[in-house]
Amino acid sequence: MRRTAWLVLGLVAAATVLLMPTPPIVAQGRPPAKPSVDFELAIRPVLAGRCGSCHGAQIQSGGLRLDSREAMLKGGRRGPAVQPGKPLASLLFRVITGADAALKMPPDGTLPAASVAAIKRWIEDGAVWPAVSAAQAAPNPGAHWAFQPVRAVEPPPVRDRRWVRNPIDAFILSKLEKEQIQPAPPASPRDLARRVTLDLTGLPPTAEDLERFESDARPDRYERLVDSLLASPRYGERWARYWLDLVRYADTNGYERDGEKPYSWKYRDWVIRSLNEDKSYQRFVTEQLAGDELPDRTEQTVAATGFLRLGTWDDEPNDPLDYQYERLDDLVHASGTAFLSLTIRCARCHDHKYDPIPQKDYYAIAASFWGGYLRPGDGKLMGGPPLDRLGFPVLGFTDEGPHPPALRLLEKGDARRPAATVDPGYLSLFPALNRPVTQPPMGAVTTHRRSQLAAWITDPKHPLTSRVTVNRLWQHHFGFGLVRTPNNFGMKGEPPTHPELLDWLARTFVSPTGSSPFAAGWRLKAMHRLMVTSATYRMASVHPAAAQIERKDALNKLWWRFNRRRLDADALRDSMLAVSGELNLSEGGRGFVPSVSREALEGLSRKGAEWSPSAPDDQKRRTVYMFLKRALIMPLLTVFDFGDTTAPIEQRESSIVPTQALGLLNNAFVVDRSTALARSVARTETDPKAAARLAWRRVLGRNPTPSELADAVRFVAATADRYRSTPQSVSDTALEPPALPGLALWLRADRGVERDPDGRVEAWLDQSAAGVRFVQPVTLHRPAMSQLGGGARPALSFDGNARWLKSPAQVISSQAMTLVAVITDRAGNGSHREILSNWRREGNVGSSLFLGTTGPSLIRFSDVFAPAGTLAQPERPSILTAQTGAGSSMVFQDRAVLAERASALEGRKLEGPYVIGQQGNIGGEYWKGEIAEVIAFNRSLDAVERVSLWNYLSRRYGIAPAPRPPSPELRALQALCHVLVNTNEFAFVD
């Protein structure tokens, strides 16, 4: 309304306007005709950028300011700068167009024609000056709540004092009482125990855990439960994930190569360990920012600086000069966000538009990191220091030296427009915290700026650090923060729902232990305990009067009930493994690589890039230990809102979409878990009723109701009936190699072996139609005979001591092929060694065909597919299968895929001679172990053929037996288990 009036008045009588009081023109209320010029894009930047330095808040040349409409109307010594509606009469327009004989502006050139036109149009339209937000119009941005010191607050009085379990509840209840809202009743003991267990550990309690809790008569049973959960290593694994989200954790660099960041996992393990140890938050921050500069530095503290190395890294930046500032920005942003929840990054190119952060402050903070290895260097180091500079094999950060080049403020953030040098410093927003940044001590090898920055951040008087941190804890316990923009405490963020509570928590958090009843001394576990033992946390998620209260507070900003939540991606995956009984709780180390479907690999630009899923047991570890490849995150996780790893994630989405249902219904991971669960249940219970009951207890932690049980038994019986009429066949067909087309080679140690008088093998005759003869004329180089794995079957034994056999003939003649070998690998952690090879120094280096291993039994299927998985238990006999063709290559040990890639091996040169037991004619890379059988086909076998061949070999050697086909009853039970993991009861936490 007011704005409309302004505009009309402005158009007809500027003089009148001048007499009016001049409130800011606010954005609400539309003018009759929308101005055709975008003020924020076309006007404000020009006035601020080209005029502001002489006509702004600091300097008013000619007494004129051009940073508000009011000031422009008031004008300077030559009178008003604009006459709304009349550009030609406006001094501003006249001086920029050269129409004013006396004055020409700007003094250093002319404005672009587009800007002149925009200003003309803007004045014609009334010179409207939109106030961007109420916040911006505030007289003093420093008055923003989050920038004030944390207050000492006392819990408010409440009427219903019995409800209050600790001071948190007083703050919550006091507001509810004011609004006349009754808090929800307490959650049932079962719901509460499940809630707090999943909350603190990310894993569901077992039925026994829940029953034990329910039957525990001690008054402090809940506190005891909380303490035991906080003491569990599972706590650190769960809560580390939130921090890892916040610090953009992943194990690769992103971009074209998407190479692995070596030792990134040490940072992840450091976070988990720090949380489990309940390291003080001050120390937690300090190690991440400056663990390399600490006097008591250890491998652990240097690994913590991995925080500064987790960002994406482009090995082929468009502009290397620019890119160092981009990386610098990543560090400012990551730190500003994680520790302070401020968007300092916004001040990189200009003063922050909303928060009182001048551009200079951005560079003052950035200067702390400017000593690091940001400039283009050796690509192998991935933008980091050499390991010897770090002193430990970790993904760490350190400075190039104690005195880095000066950092200059960049005009408009443009690397080619350096301006004044900016000294290291802090945010001018907090004058009370100001302190000089001191020079590094004598003999220092780093700038010591980062440790000083850490000290500034962790100053107990810092208004943000403590508030931000307790807010994050609250957020993960209650679903939302007290401040619902957990990564933005600036003026565009949301205000806290309970400012006094936030301050009370913040103060309690940083107060030295013992100084007050709840003082936490910067320890997170004390804060967790405080929050989860409150009555607020113990409320039910269902409220009898929800319908009425939602009308007033649908978003539950008053915390009148607990927020029900869907399990997030990690908790869901971990829970499935837990209830199936398969969860592997081994801790730490390099991440495991999950199996993903072949279709999912299609998204990779490098289809030749091998995807080597870890051994099945390894894949049953907790999700926090999963290898995170930026170009391909396990699809089952992303569909459940596992975040994008390039930027800090404050809070994961919690969507509910049909593709999640597709995943839980059809994804092999979920099917496998329900199968494992059914097998495990069937091992204990054979009676259908008892089995269903046990399945219920395992998945949902409770006994089924009688009607649920009856329904389930009916479902299982009907399903089993149906399966009986359509039995699932696991093929037990066994086929000898010649029964499959395309056989090119068949060596077996029980046929065609010719031995010399010493019993050593001088020839080995191929049993296929080709009849290739492998020979060793030199006695010294002949392999011996042995029993495979000490068992009953013969094998050729290679002792790694220059034993091999050779045939001049070409063995394989097709680019599509399958190689199968029955072997043991006894080289331990040796160098390269080959089973079969046609390598020749002259002719096919790099394009030869071979199958062998290296190091700790990493498989090499020619140079282009290496490593191709790792042999498990290499010293025990196994069937190694490698095949390629038709857009895919795969390697198997026994019946499990070890590695695959979505393309065939590129052009192998296949001419002979071929050798068994070494790398071609290199005179080296000798096999150490046994070879009982080598089979080759000139094509890629299909799955059925493969299985029939394996069945044949597995019977002959007594290894890798075919899995038994599940009975109809078991399959039906699996269907029931699958149903249960799909239920809302499993997926939600009350």
Binding site: L41, L555, L632, E653, T659
Partner: protein
């Protein structure tokens, strides 16, 4: 942030059945979400376009050999690019002399728009096409340039164009994704997932990959036989009903119940959408689905049409996948490389334009063609037949959805090296694309960490000159 939306597109469905009314009476969960994340939303202004098909020529086609007619290059053949031009010779590759187009240009349509013999069939549609011959991009490296083409920024982590469109307009068919991406069988684009990610937006807006092999959507194929699956779903439904009843309702619980039925329907609708057996022999022939080398891209173009017909908002097709010669990255030989890739795509693209037109869909479907940058007017090495990367000037084109046909906008310099007249940045392409789809690129924003983020950041200009 905030609510954590609860598949609320589903809520509207349920509401239609009256199911929601009873559930709202009690219970937990955020029930006040006004509408679903993918519910159809009105554009900022009335417009013809309902959908966009982005024909992405991965690897960067050479503009001077395809759509940017530079007869003057013949004059300069054998000379060097003037030394006054400052530029990055990407990857420090070899530099040779200026080299004219490898195939002749000829006029097409009534407009006589000059298009080369790499695209003889597309040329027949010249009167439908607006060439934008003055594009320029921010990076000379594929990884970052592809991401910039798809998200506006050379750094990974921002939402892709399709995400913005799905966010802005929702989708009219809840049984299909709003944004579909079909990759080339040879591989994904460099940088992978960030090319179709939703960045800081909810993941519901990210592109759904329709896989070139196997099931079009991951986990689409039922893990059990149809009967068992249906009975399992019923069993899940019964357990969920009981669970919900005990809690007095809850929109989150209800959404998840509905999501299972939707998933069930997707299992039949998605395969139907990519099932080409119901297309006539004539159509299959026109797209070249029955023969090489057009089989794959022809199939993908035809699927794109079927998806658009079924209400999908944004379909992105990749021609070229993986690296180097498997894409349009013609370092070795323009003739060999473009001969192959244009040979695969020219016929199918022409068929798509014809088909959309005949079905009355061209008016409501924007077709955008282009790659992440162009190629240098000089040869890669003395007398060599390839060309290096060129982000300084290249051509993209648009057709349909109210785009003026038979015209070209903007020009590169006489060497075809850099945009010289009316330069068009990728932000301008994005602004124009959004405009044609009824959205003001300055208004389509998403609040992230206190900043109203836009596809075009603080840039972008709608190329009004090509809008009819």
């Amino acid at each position: 942030m905030g609510l954590g939306f609860v598949g609320t597109a589903l809520l509207s469905l349920l509401d239609a059945d009256g199911a929601l009314a009873s559930a709202r009476s009690g219970g937990s969960g955020a029930s006040s979400a006004p509408e679903g994340p993918l519910a159809p939303r009105p554009p900022h202004f009335a417009t013809r376009a309902r959908a966009c098909i982005f024909l992405t020529m991965n690897g960067a086609p050479s503009h001077i050999d395809t759509f940017d007619y530079k007869p003057s290059l013949a004059k300069y053949a054998g000379q060097d690019l003037p030394a006054s031009f400052k530029f990055t010779n990407s990857g420090g590759r070899k530099k040779g002399a200026l080299t004219p187009a490898w195939r002749p240009f000829r006029p097409g349509g009534k407009s006589g728009l000059m298009i080369s013999d790499y695209f003889p069939n597309v040329r027949k549609h010249a009167d439908k096409i607006a060439l934008i011959r003055s594009c320029h991009a921010d990076s000379h490296a594929h990884g970052s340039a592809l991401v910039a083409m798809n998200t506006g920024s050379i750094f990974i982590g921002r939402p892709s164009i399709g995400s913005w469109v799905a966010y802005g307009l929702g989708t009219v068919n809840q049984n299909l994704p709003g944004y579909v991406c079909i990759l080339d069988k040879r591989g994904g684009p460099i940088s992978g997932q960030p090319n179709w990610n939703s960045g800081f937006m909810p993941s519901v807006y990210q592109g759904t990959l329709f896989r070139p092999i196997g099931d079009p959507v991951l986990d689409l194929r039922a893990a059990s036989d149809a009967r068992t699956q249906r009975e399992s779903l019923d069993q899940i439904g019964r357990l969920n009903e009981r669970h919900m009843a005990a809690r007095g309702g809850g929109s989150d619980l209800m959404s998840r119940i509905a999501s299972y039925e939707l998933a069930y329907r997707m299992q039949s609708e998605v395969p139907e959408a990519v099932d080409l057996t119901r297309e006539t022999a004539h159509t299959l022939d026109a797209y070249g689905v029955d023969r090489e080398p057009t089989r794959e891209f022809g199939r993908n173009c035809l699927i794109a049409r079927r998806l658009v017909e079924r209400g999908v908002r944004f379909v992105q097709l990749y021609s070229g996948g993986g690296h180097l010669e498997e894409t349009w990255d013609a370092h070795e030989s323009v003739e060999k490389n473009h001969g192959r890739h244009a040979g695969e795509t020219d016929g199918p693209i022409a068929a798509l334009l014809t088909d959309l037109d005949q079905r009355g869909l061209l008016d409501s479907t924007l077709v955008l063609w282009g790659g992440e940058f162009g190629r240098m007017p000089y040869a890669e090495g003395v007398g060599a037949p390839g060309r290096n990367h060129n982000p300084y000037g290249f051509t993209m084109w648009m057709a349909g959805a109210g785009v003026k046909g038979g015209m070209s906008y903007g020009e590169t310099d006489e060497f075809g090296f850099a945009a010289a007249v009316n330069p068009v940045h990728m932000h301008d392409i994005h602004a124009t694309l959004l405009h044609l789809m009824g959205m003001d690129h300055k208004k389509l924003s998403y609040l992230h960490q206190g900043r109203e983020e836009r596809l075009t950041d603080v840039y972008g200009r709608v190329i009004q000159e090509i809008v009819a």
